[in-house]
Every structure is written in structure tokens, then in C-alpha cells.
């Protein structure tokens, strides 16, 4: 018995090893393959090959076009969508509203399965990059498209969405500024949903308690001199005028706002080169904040603080003025309900602080859909159908209203009966121009990483503001030059 067992065991051993080895080598081979098409990915033929690997069931284009309507397909849907607490829907978490809409879509199209995945905004860059390198990106990505799209377009990773628009889904209904943000050589690469801008917010209660309410400008506009004078008067007794943060790359959104409104520029007009060193206002503004810290007008440690820290200080009633998106109205309202925000915070929206004689400017962040390369014509059509459904007039309105973001569609405009201050703010912000954050550069993400260490070195006295700005400009331009040389 034992002898038989040994012989059988031997055969089983060999068979087992051969089978597992074959399976694993097969797996390794296909796992290894993605690196091969990447080598020649710029050619359309290789892209089609790559897609073929990703979806084993994908059929040749010709037969797909003839595919019956009932063909079963799976759509990978990734989102960093910030929308929650949408009116009329139980949606307390990010992505909840989208999930409901996707379920509704799947009921209408039972042959379509949508795999939903919420991705934390801080992780999306990494996750999508890895997925692209592995040739398994999502089919659809809802994200701040203006920040990431240029890179994907440069490497031919995303689909043109021109065919998305038709008589029932008219391009004219969409905000042309947002459309232009994602148009390259006449091809539209993203479907905008909403957008937001940065403004300044005063906690009126602090001013009232200090008897300084008369300092709040009625026209919601202030120059650096007025702003500094107001902050000086409101500071003290545990209250700071404002707060800054340079602890991570988000420092560009918050801090650059001051630099731009002082008259400085970061990128040239075509977002090809950093020109900050040409503007003495940049170093002067950094010096201004160093002085404010010394005078106790801003809290110490701004060089290491993050956006959340500053928000926290404002929501605790320790900071009088903050620079953020109008969604702050909703954050405060929700926080008052759950007790996480001080009860008596009363917001008053202001135009961005600016140099005397200079028109204020602000940054815009736009959210919307991108579609990664598709090989299956029917699937692509269903993806477009899904996008039309998700970006319907009602949906865009609901998503925009949930965060007080501007809807991308003219037909989705909503009223603000519960937010009179927001309405007043929108009135004064309407003429404010957008400044160039360089988001159309394919190297935006990398250059962004260079700014906050430069700002930290200036704020902490490791370098003079002039040195920091000059070094940042030189480093960023060297990086852009090296990257474009390598990639072109």
C-alpha cells in the first residue's frame, strides 16, 4: 500500500508541480506583459493589444459594432467625487449619491454591471498611475480633472468625448470655460460636472465680540493694507487674524492665492515655464507673512501646518479670517448640527485680498468625468450613455447644490434661498478672474511638489524669501526641461 502510495504520490507531485508552474508562469507572463506594450504604447496598434490583454473577452472592433444590445458588459467606475448630503437622498458619505444613480442606471440597462470604487483624493494620483502602467485603468474616473487630465492626454490614455454630445445632450448647455479647460486640439477629454473657487471668509462673531464689526467691509472687497489693518485689530486674546499652511502640496492653493493677488505669477501664459522669480511681489508677500507671524497675527508653525489644521482653528473660533471654497457654508452648517463646529460661527464671504490697483483673482477647481481608452465600441457607447445619465440636468444641479459648487450646465443652475451670504458673495465674485495654477502643464503634479518645501524654507528662515523663490524657479524649470527632453 505504501509502495503504491509512493508511486501515485510521485506522479501527483510531478503533475501538481507542472500544473501550478504552468498556471503561475502563465500568470507571471501575463503580469509581465503590460510592461511590453507600454514600451510602444504611443502607437494605436499597441494600445489595442494592451486593451486586449486587459479584457480577455473583448472581441474585434467589427464584431463589436454589430454586438446585440443585450451584450453583458462591466464598467469600472472610480470616483473621488466629493458630493454628499444631496437634497432628497440619504447620502451622508462621499460617493453615496453616485452609487444610487449607478444603481438606477443598471436597472434601466440590466446588461450593464458597474463596479463602483471610491478613491481617496490623496491616493488617486498614485492609484490611477499604477493602474495605467498595469494596463488596467478604470473605464471612468470622476475627479478634479483639470489637475490630472493634461498628463493622461499627453500619453494618449483618455478617450475624446466629442461624440458624447448630441441634440439631447447639448454641448452649448455646458460652461464654455470648463469645456475649454479640457479641450486639446479640438478634442474634449472631460465632462465637467461642477466647479468651485476660492474666496475669503470672516467669522463675524469674533468681530462682534470684540466690538469691531464696523471693520468688516460692506463691499466685500479689501486691499492688503486694509486686510492687514483689520487682522491686526482683531488679533489677540487667543484669537489670530488668519492662518497659513505649507505642510504639504496643498500649500499652492492657499498660499499662492496671496502671491497672485499681490501681482506675482507662477507659470507663464502657456504653462510651459515657471516665472515666479521675475516678480519681486512673490518674495515680498512671503516676507509679509513672516512679519505677521512675528507680530502674533497668524499662529506660529504655519510652515508645518496643513489645510485641516487651519480649518480646525477657524471652526473652533480661534481664527478670524480663512481662505477656502464656499463649501465652507455647508461645512459650518453641518458641523453646527453634529456639534463639531462652534455654534456661534457666522460666515461673511469676501473677495480675495489684493494689492491696491490690482483686480482680485482666484483659483478654480473643476470636477468631472474622464474616460480611459476603450477597445469595445459597444462598451464605449454604454459608457457614454452612463455619463449622459450621471450628468443629467437634475444630477448636476443636485451635486452642485450639495456642496454649493457651481454647476457645469446652464440648465442646472440652482437658487440659494438658505444661503443669503453665499448669494451676496457670488455677486461680488462674478467679475473675478481665474489665475493660472499651471494645471494645463503635464508636469503640474511634479512641479507642485517643489513649491511647499521652498515655502517652508523661507518661512522657517532657512533661506531668504528671495532665495527660496529663485531656487524654486530654477529647480522647477530644470525639472520641466529634463522631463520634456526625456519625453519628447
Amino acid at each position: 500500500m505504501r509502495r503504491i502510495d509512493r508511486k501515485t504520490g510521485m506522479l501527483a507531485t510531478i503533475g501538481f508541480i507542472v500544473l501550478i508552474t504552468a498556471l503561475l508562469l502563465g500568470g507571471c507572463a501575463s503580469g509581465n506583459q503590460p510592461s511590453k506594450p507600454v514600451e510602444s504604447e504611443n502607437t494605436p496598434a499597441s494600445q489595442s493589444d494592451a486593451g486586449g490583454e486587459q479584457q480577455a473577452s473583448v472581441q474585434p472592433e467589427a464584431s463589436q459594432a454589430e454586438a446585440p444590445q443585450a451584450k453583458e458588459i462591466t464598467i469600472e467606475y472610480w470616483t473621488t467625487g466629493p458630493y454628499k448630503n444631496v437634497k432628497g437622498f440619504d447620502t451622508p458619505n462621499n460617493g453615496d449619491y453616485e452609487k444610487i444613480k449607478l444603481e438606477q442606471f443598471q436597472k434601466i440597462h440590466p446588461n450593464v454591471k458597474v463596479n463602483f470604487q471610491y478613491v481617496a483624493p490623496g491616493a488617486v494620483e498614485q492609484k490611477v498611475t499604477v493602474a495605467l502602467l498595469g494596463n488596467n485603468p478604470p473605464d471612468i474616473l470622476l475627479d478634479s480633472f483639470d489637475r490630472r487630465l493634461p498628463k493622461y492626454v499627453k500619453f494618449n490614455k483618455t478617450e475624446s468625448l466629442n461624440a458624447l454630445f448630441d441634440a439631447s445632450f447639448q454641448l452649448d448647455d455646458f460652461n464654455q470655460v470648463l469645456i475649454n479647460l479640457n479641450t486639446y486640439d479640438g478634442e474634449i477629454f472631460a465632462l465637467p460636472l461642477t466647479s468651485s473657487f476660492n474666496a475669503f471668509f470672516i467669522n463675524k462673531t469674533i468681530f462682534k465680540e470684540k466690538g469691531l464689526e464696523h471693520l468688516i467691509p460692506e463691499n466685500r472687497d479689501w486691499t492688503f493694507e486694509q486686510w492687514k489693518d483689520i487682522l491686526k485689530q482683531v488679533s489677540g486674546d487667543g484669537i489670530y487674524g488668519t492662518a497659513i499652511y505649507a505642510g504639504n502640496e496643498q500649500a499652492d492653493e492657499g498660499f499662492l492665492n496671496y502671491l497672485f493677488n499681490a501681482g506675482a505669477e507662477q507659470w507663464d501664459q502657456n504653462s510651459e515655464k515657471i516665472i515666479m522669480a521675475d516678480y519681486p511681489q512673490a518674495a515680498e508677500t512671503i516676507q509679509l507673512f513672516k512679519d505677521l507671524e512675528k507680530e502674533g497675527i497668524i499662529p506660529p508653525g504655519g510652515a508645518n501646518m496643513k489645510l485641516e489644521d487651519v480649518n480646525q482653528l477657524f471652526l473652533q473660533g480661534k481664527v478670524a479670517v480663512i481662505n477656502l471654497a464656499p463649501t465652507l457654508y455647508n461645512i459650518v452648517a453641518a458641523g453646527k448640527k453634529d456639534g463639531s463646529v462652534k455654534e456661534d460661527i457666522e460666515l461673511y464671504g469676501m473677495r480675495p485680498v489684493h494689492a491696491s490697483g490690482q483686480e482680485p483673482r482666484t483659483s478654480i477647481v473643476a470636477q468631472g468625468y474622464m474616460v480611459f481608452k476603450q477597445d469595445d465600441a459597444y462598451k464605449k457607447e454604454m459608457i457614454f450613455e452612463l455619463l449622459r445619465y450621471m450628468a443629467s440636468t437634475e444630477s448636476v444641479k443636485a451635486m452642485g447644490e450639495s456642496l454649493l459648487y457651481a454647476p457645469s450646465r446652464t440648465s442646472s443652475v440652482y437658487e440659494l434661498p438658505d444661503h443669503p451670504d453665499m448669494e451676496a458673495l457670488m455677486g461680488v465674485m462674478s467679475g473675478v478672474q481665474r489665475f493660472n495654477l499651471g494645471t494645463t502643464s503635464p508636469y503640474y503634479a511634479e512641479v507642485r511638489q517643489l513649491w511647499f518645501p521652498a515655502l517652508q524654507s523661507a518661512l522657517l528662515g532657512n533661506k531668504t524669501p528671495e532665495q527660496a523663490v529663485a531656487d524654486y524657479t530654477a529647480q522647477a524649470n530644470a525639472l520641466i526641461e529634463e522631463k520634456s527632453k526625456k519625453e519628447n
Binding site: R6, G9, M10, A12, T13, F16, I17, I20, L24, G27, C28, N32, S35, V38, E39, S40, E41, N42, E125, Q126, T129, V130, L132, L133, K151, F155, K157, G247, N248, P299, P300, G301, A303, N304, M305, D309, Q312, L313, K318, A445, E446, Q449, F452, P453, A454, Q456, S457, L460, N462, K486, E487
Partner: protein
């Protein structure tokens, strides 16, 4: 031939049983390791992969960010590993004389951070180091000092990170030392007592030499762990202020996922591998004769 067949008959089943594990080792460790070596020879990004030989390594020699990260990592290892080894040995030595119940209590106390993830522990330290509403400044404020920027200047930030890492790195070495100390024959201590040896003399004359292998293991694993510091840097400082606390793994991460230069990141990983290997071999060489 016959001998080989006999051996195969004798040990065949053994190979079957270890085969699944070997394959997992191959798929999840060996294959990625070998592939990292391969990728390090390519310019590998979203635009494609092109063979460039050793260019990535040449680039690293001139790359100040990488060299600073390497220096920082070595500095972290030099500061953290000796403290972890010495403090855990002292604590284990002190706990040796306690009764079983007290020993278990302290063992649990020191091991507790090990069951938390590094992310959670780092977030707690992030709050403690916060300049405006952190515990550290509250405590020093009680004696009229501060507030301090615990992560504000490069030197203080490095020390703060070391302090945080050491605080949660003691548990495992203490457990290992306690187990190792318990394994030392009691006769040696009894003989020393008869000879009139003091507790300190017994500790350095018997305990320390007898747990040499454990010390070697702790030194090597702690060094490897410190060379792989990432989460604490990512959450606490983001590599700042002005890149002064970036470690090798953090730089590898940024090179791969922010700059999308996977070839260069792979080359950095190869350097990290070689450095860790070299240090581990040196440590083995230094400690081995004492433990034989």
C-alpha cells in the same frame, strides 16, 4: 542515478508540502525583486519603457535629493537602533526580577503599540506634536516653556520622529529579550551569586553575552525596519521641513508615484536593497564571533 531516485522517493513529499509556500515566496517576493532589478535598467514611465542600461544609477549618484535621503536614513538608523536595543534590554533586565503577573502586565503594556497600525500611531503623534493644540506643547507649557515647533526645524523634526518611532518599537525586542533571558540556565546565576557577583556584574557578565543571538536578530530587524520608514514620514512631516526628513523609501515612493519614473525608483530600491544587505552582513560579521 539510483541514489538520486532513492533520495527523491525519500524526500519527494516534503517538496510537495513546501511547494505552495515556495511558489508564494517566488510570486510575491522573488519575482518582484528580480523584476525591480530589471526595471532599474529602463526609463519606465507613462510614456513607455526604454532600455537605458545603468543610466538610472549614474543619475542617482548626482541626485542631491536621493543622496540626502540616503544620509537621512542612515542617520535615523544610527539614532533609533542603538536606543531601541539598549532601552529594551534594560527594560527587559528590570522586568526579569518581577513576579509573573507584573511581568505579564508590563509585557502587554509595551507590546500594545505593536498591535496598532503605524498609521494610527503616527496620527496620534501628529496631534501630540501639533504646535497649536498638541499635547507636547501643553505639557511643556505647564512648566512655563514653549510652545515649540516639534516638527519645525530639521534637527528637531528628526529627533521628534526618532522619539515617536522608538516609542512604538520597544515592544517586540522586550518580548524577545524576556524570552531569551528566561532561557538562560539558572545555574549560571547561582554560581555567580556564590562567587559574590553583584546584580550589575551578573547582567553584563552572564545575561548580555548569553542573549547575543537575540541582540543580533533585534539589531538586524530593527535596522531593516528603520531603513523602511515611510508612514511616519508621510504623515508627520511629508518629508519636510524642506525635504530634511525624507527617507529612502519616501523618496522611492515620490519618484515612482508623483514623478512617475518607475525605472529611477527601481534603481533607488536596488540601492536600498544593497545598502540593507551590506549593513546586515557587516552586523553579522561583527556580532557572530561573540555569539558562537
Amino acid at each position: 542515478m539510483r541514489l538520486m531516485q532513492d533520495k527523491w522517493r525519500q524526500y519527494g513529499w516534503g517538496y510537495v508540502f513546501i511547494f505552495p509556500n515556495l511558489m508564494l515566496l517566488f510570486v510575491f517576493y522573488l519575482y518582484p525583486l528580480l523584476n525591480t532589478f530589471r526595471i532599474s535598467l529602463f526609463d519606465y514611465g507613462l510614456g513607455g519603457a526604454h532600455f537605458i542600461g545603468l543610466d538610472n544609477f549614474t543619475h542617482l549618484i548626482q541626485n542631491t535629493v536621493f543622496l540626502r535621503s540616503l544620509r537621512n536614513t542612515i542617520l535615523f538608523a544610527a539614532l533609533i537602533v542603538p536606543v531601541v536595543v539598549i532601552v529594551s534590554l534594560i527594560l527587559a533586565g528590570l522586568m526579569q526580577g518581577l513576579n509573573q503577573k507584573a511581568k505579564s502586565w508590563y509585557r502587554m503594556l509595551f507590546y500594545l503599540p505593536d498591535i496598532c497600525t503605524a498609521v494610527v500611531l503616527t496620527m496620534v503623534w501628529e496631534w501630540m506634536f501639533n504646535m497649536n493644540f498638541g499635547l507636547m506643547n501643553y505639557l511643556v507649557g505647564l512648566v512655563g516653556l514653549g510652545p515649540f515647533q516639534w516638527l519645525g526645524s530639521p534637527s528637531i523634526a528628526i529627533l521628534s520622529i526618532c522619539f515617536a518611532v522608538i516609542s512604538w518599537s520597544l515592544g517586540r525586542p522586550i518580548i524577545l529579550y524576556l524570552a531569551s533571558i528566561d532561557g538562560i540556565p539558572k545555574e549560571l546565576y547561582e554560581a555567580a551569586e556564590i562567587d559574590g557577583a553583584s546584580p550589575l556584574r551578573k547582567f553584563f557578565g552572564i545575561t548580555v553575552p548569553m542573549i547575543g543571538n537575540t541582540s543580533l536578530f533585534i539589531v538586524i530587524t530593527s535596522t531593516i525596519a528603520v531603513f523602511q520608514l515611510f508612514v511616519v514620514i508621510q504623515i508627520l512631516t511629508g518629508g519636510g521641513p524642506f525635504r530634511s526628513t525624507e527617507t529612502l523609501v519616501f523618496t522611492i515612493y515620490r519618484t515612482a508615484f508623483v514623478s512617475v519614473e518607475f525605472g529611477l525608483a527601481a534603481a533607488q530600491s536596488v540601492v536600498l536593497f544593497v545598502v540593507i544587505l551590506a549593513i546586515a552582513l557587516l552586523q553579522l560579521k561583527w556580532f557572530k564571533p561573540k555569539t558562537d
